[in-house]
Symmetry: C2
Subunit: 384 residues, 2 copies
């Protein structure tokens, strides 16, 4: 560990500070070099944070008038309105969100609870949500469960504390039941699931038609001449994975191909798991000419493993994934997959949630709805 002083001036007066600094540095990982630049201390005069009262006092009006003026209340004279707005701008007045939200009972904020944003699918959904929320003047509060039920419960509960007007959620891989979500229903807070939904809860959902996507994928494999099609399934208790398995089974049977349980592997959604499943397939010595995987990552694992064993894709083996992650277009061969319209899913979910919030605010009954998006088969070079 190394410290470099850039500041050329004698540091005498800063010595004390620096000791604290050095202590803090001890926490840092040793793969990094820390170059600590001690700028001149920030002695900018602390500007007061202005409130409505400050504006009011300045103009010799009351706070309520100032408030009304800023909100373009027609009962306030045009002159006062202009004065207030101008002063507010020149003072760089920022209304206190908390006070406003507390008083009004709503802060125009929606919560988003999802497993993690560092997956392209979820990041895209988020973008769709962001788009609509911004249009509608809503703020978005994002929480990541990192696939942990414990964290999900904590977050769901703490989001309940008055900060949000409604919740968009996609459950963690560990979640099977959702008492922490039922609270939203019983407190009358709109809740909309997207993608990974809890089937039994009577709330709105926006999901992909996973069954159809799987069916199309498998039909595509069959059409291109495959007959012995293996399936990498996800955890069975999550609806979307169950539906993908259902589509797989139905596509086979409808085409007069018998379902071979030996060819179905459960809980395979990571690259490593995909690789392991591929190895097992080869060791078993069974015949197979295609894999339909519930996810792109496990498809990738299988593909890499197959290639390492001299299997040519798609000549000897066709592989199709699910999700259409961007890397699918970059690998060799490019990966066929099912696109989930993530952006649109986010837009729909946000639109639905906001409409439910509006209904609720008008004291109208909210009827849970289910919006099912149509999957899109993306054929690339990993299938024939």
């Amino acid at each position: 560990m190394k410290f470099i002083f850039i500041n050329k001036k004698p540091m005498q007066s800063f010595a004390q500070k620096y000791i604290t600094l050095a202590k803090i540095f001890i926490f840092y990982r040793n793969f990094s070099i820390f170059l600590s630049v001690l700028f001149s201390a920030n002695l900018v005069p602390q500007v007061k944070k202005y409130t409505l009262r400050d504006i009011a006092k300045e103009l010799n009006i009351s706070a309520s008038t100032a408030s009304r003026a800023l909100h373009d209340n027609p009962r306030i004279s045009a002159l006062v309105r202009r004065q207030v707005k101008e002063l507010a701008k020149s003072m760089d007045y920022q209304p206190d969100f908390r006070a406003m939200s507390l008083r009004r009972g709503s802060g125009r904020t929606i919560g988003v609870l999802l497993p993690q944003v560092d997956r392209y699918f979820f990041a895209s959904v988020l973008r769709g949500i962001d788009e609509i929320s911004t249009e509608e003047g809503y703020n978005v509060l994002i929480c990541q469960s990192y696939e942990s039920l414990q964290k999900e419960e904590d977050l769901a509960r703490s989001l309940l504390n008055g900060r949000i007007d409604g919740l968009l959620a996609s459950v963690s891989i560990e979640t099977r039941v959702g008492p922490h979500f039922e609270q939203y229903v019983s407190k009358g807070l709109p809740l909309v699931f997207f993608d990974r939904a809890l089937d039994y809860l009577k709330v709105s959902k926006v999901v992909l038609d996973d069954y159809k996507g799987a069916y199309q994928a498998v039909q595509h494999l069959i059409d291109s001449g495959c007959r012995r099609i293996a399936h990498f399934a996800g955890p069975g208790h999550i609806e979307i994975y169950a539906n993908r398995a259902g589509g797989y089974i139905d596509a086979l049977t409808k085409n007069g191909i018998q379902v071979d349980p030996e060819l179905i592997f459960s809980g395979v959604i990571t690259q490593e798991a995909g690789c392991r499943a591929m190895k097992r397939l080869m060791e078993m010595g069974v015949k197979f000419d295609a894999i339909f995987s519930s996810g792109d990552y496990s498809a990738l694992g299988a593909m890499v493993c197959a290639q390492q064993n001299g299997i040519d894709i798609p000549r000897d083996l066709s592989i199709i994934g699910f999700s259409n992650e961007p890397f699918g277009a970059l690998i060799q061969p490019t990966l066929s997959s099912i696109d989930q319209h993530a952006l649109e899913m986010g837009r729909q979910a946000a639109t639905l949630l906001i409409s439910e919030i509006n209904l609720k605010n008008k004291n109208q009954t909210v009827f849970p709805r289910k919006i099912i998006l149509d999957p899109q088969l993306v054929i690339r070079n990993s299938t024939r």
Copy 2:
């Protein structure tokens, strides 16, 4: 567009509702089929949201006692503390964040303003931030500028409205000056930049040693025998890209290789731009045996373009990127790159910000610091 009714019961009573529903559907894109399921109306009795006063009344104590009990104030008797906590739990009491934050003057919330989360680098930084913030009991408010200065300004200003105790920011590609950030300084709100920082602002920063990373990358190319090394530079006004270009130039000169301006392309950070630059290189008819790109996406564009033109990588041409995006390990050949320690950058930035918030709360002077992380050369198969 198609509607399918799953509900088998006569829909008479829902007809009116359905008209509204149908109208909403008009907004939906036509690539999707919407399957609208009308569940039975949600008639769960609306549970009241409990306040401290409800708890207090129930136990015949005052609200302040209840508040103190929940906060484990030692002045409250153990008995009362237990009673309050138990009742709170059984009523599923959730403190109102807004009221607490308003009264206390702090809601233990930090804001994060970044270009977009649907890039792995930023998502990873976010994860690091999330980790530390959670540990320290802070909430995180995420805002995306989508590389738009306008949006960045709006967000920076609206974040100023009392909701946050400090801001972590990475500026948009359009940002050259930051009056919207200077406000934080003048209002005494801690501000820490990460990765894309505004150089002239005297605030804390956590960045990668881009110069060093670039130098190492180019040195690696030289060591492996390359002499005519092209550079895809980013927008010059952003410090990190300028530093990468600096490292490139210095590595060449220190090794006695003359810098050829013809081999330097500016503003090349997307896949398309990388492809265009590659084409131009080939058309120019100049000799070149390597490319050092400021980003992985532009490196990818060059690689694909080169391969399409029968250039073998790394035999005929070495390519090295910057960022170590995950796709680099998946493409053929795998892409050499510079890892930016995104997760660690997030951790450091959050740690630094929180320490500044604490200092400020103790009315101590905050000295801006600059933490420079050490880059890591990741050698894969796109270089020799």
